[in-house]
């Protein structure tokens, strides 16, 4: 009798646990999907959406331009740092401290990148606000995470591959550029596209490096500007919603690219 009771309790606990977990996961995804769907529905329902969307095209282009410019600036130093850390750095306390520092910088809030951009590029070097400052600041922002992802993709190349190349008489540079880099390429690309998704939605930095009234502007910044504008004047959110929907489409696009380029998971 007690045995049966116990069995029953165990089964009940198992079922309850499974039920709760599935419920939580479903609730979570539904709530996120609900928010995203709300954005699109409201953007589409607003009047003259096609005409308004056509007016956003230059914003879309400048967003893409900023994205590629900042990636182009960020890539070379991050790649060099990653190569240094994996291939050349001695295994000592200085290197460990460097790694720790990069990890901490990676964890810092993005407004610090914005603050730095404001202090160094905008004020100290006198670039003011605009495209150049923003691109430089964004490239600073993604630097640590890029270094991390490049480093792990270079580390994933087996040591035996390097040794094989070296034993065939290739130099260190040749090994790096003709053997290690090509085999790490898929993961490097995937790391790049993950960073691109991050830059695309980054807004906090733009508050420091772009001017709200005139000049260069991009989609996420416009979402915020129009949002605050409507709050103050209590008008409709139409403009912010349309810019937001366009930004979301771009983000999904780049996220899909990141999925496609992502190498297979290591869990299998």
């Amino acid at each position: 009798m007690r045995q049966a009771m116990h069995q029953h309790l165990v089964r009940a606990e198992e079922q309850l646990g499974r039920f709760l977990i599935v419920l939580i996961v479903i609730l979570f995804t539904v709530s996120v999907l609900f928010l995203i769907a709300l954005l699109f529905i409201q953007a589409i329902l607003s009047e003259e959406v096609i005409k308004k969307a056509a007016n956003q095209m230059d914003l879309l282009l400048s967003t893409l331009l900023l994205l590629f410019a900042s990636m182009a600036i960020a890539f070379p130093p991050a790649a060099m740092a990653a190569v240094y850390l994996t291939e050349y750095a001695p295994d000592n306390k200085t290197t460990a401290a460097l790694r720790m520092g990069i990890t901490i910088l990676d964890g810092l809030p993005s407004i610090f990148a914005g603050l730095t951009g404001l202090l160094i590029f905008s004020r100290w070097l006198g670039f003011g606000t605009g495209f150049l400052t923003t691109a430089l600041t964004l490239s600073l922002l993604v630097q640590p995470s890029l270094i991390h992802s490049f480093e792990s993709s270079l580390k994933a190349v087996p040591q035996a591959v390097r040794d094989g190349s070296l034993s065939l008489g290739a130099g260190r540079f040749q090994t790096l550029f003709k053997v290690v880099m090509p085999s790490a390429l898929p993961e490097i690309l995937s790391g790049l596209s993950v960073s691109m998704v991050r830059i695309l939605g980054e807004t906090a930095v733009l508050l420091f490096t772009l001017s709200p009234k005139r000049g260069f502007s991009v989609l996420p910044f416009q979402v915020y500007i129009r949002f605050t504008g409507t709050i103050e004047k209590s008008a409709s959110l139409e403009g912010a919603l349309i810019a937001g929907a366009l930004l979301m489409v771009l983000v999904f696009l780049f996220k899909t690219v990141a999925w496609i380029t992502a190498p297979g998971e290591q869990y299998e």
Binding site: I36, I104, P109, L207
Partner: protein
Amino acid sequence: MSASLSLLILFSITLILLIKGAPFLFLISPLSQISLTDSAALAQSGIAAAPIFSALANTLLVASGALFIALPVGTASGIFLAEMVPEKHASLIRKFLDLPAAVPPVIYGLMAWQAGRLFFSFSPPVTASIILSLMIIPTITAASEKALRSVPANLKECSLALGATHWQTIARTSIPAARKGIIAGAVIALSRAIGETMIVLMIAGQSRTLTMIIAGEIPEIKPGTVEEAFVYCAGVLLLLLSAFVTFLSVKVSKPGVRAWSSL
């Protein structure tokens, strides 16, 4: 080495911020002439009365509220992915559950404001916590899934061989063994919640956080004023806070120590 140049740049940035901000930290002390916690002096100088320590408290409150929601949900999703979903579908579901992390914070802020206006009305800090939790859940999910998958198979097999059910094995063997990884993920998520600017800037309203002070004031202030001192003071506090939290997460998940060695 030209490669370490970028590292040098990064560190000098931190240093500049610290140097620029550090003197202002002393201004908070009651001994100084202009006390930055003195809301009257700040209100006089044009900044809305928001003493720095209440901002710190707000930051911690909003972030820990977000973590309070995100930790159970994230861990549950991690268990779901690691233990309950068939391998074949796991990678697809993982991508799906990772999607909320890719949504830009500014969109979250916009939609939270909109949803709050249309469907429900919590107080602004609570809304901020809920929305922040959506953003940080994927971090916890990924960390807990990884931790659960790195629990050695023979531990689970021992538990099953002793007659425990699948669920008992998850609850009493896998989760305790993966504890460290889950906690490290939670700490990283906490640091993301602390540093998030746009969501709190757009929803949190009157309860100002550290990031709100920095992002909200910086574009207008002139160098060399009390306002600037106030903002950099907030900056240094935030820098110390998030550096500490990140350091903590690294220490918790020390690579040398296996996640299950404390068993």
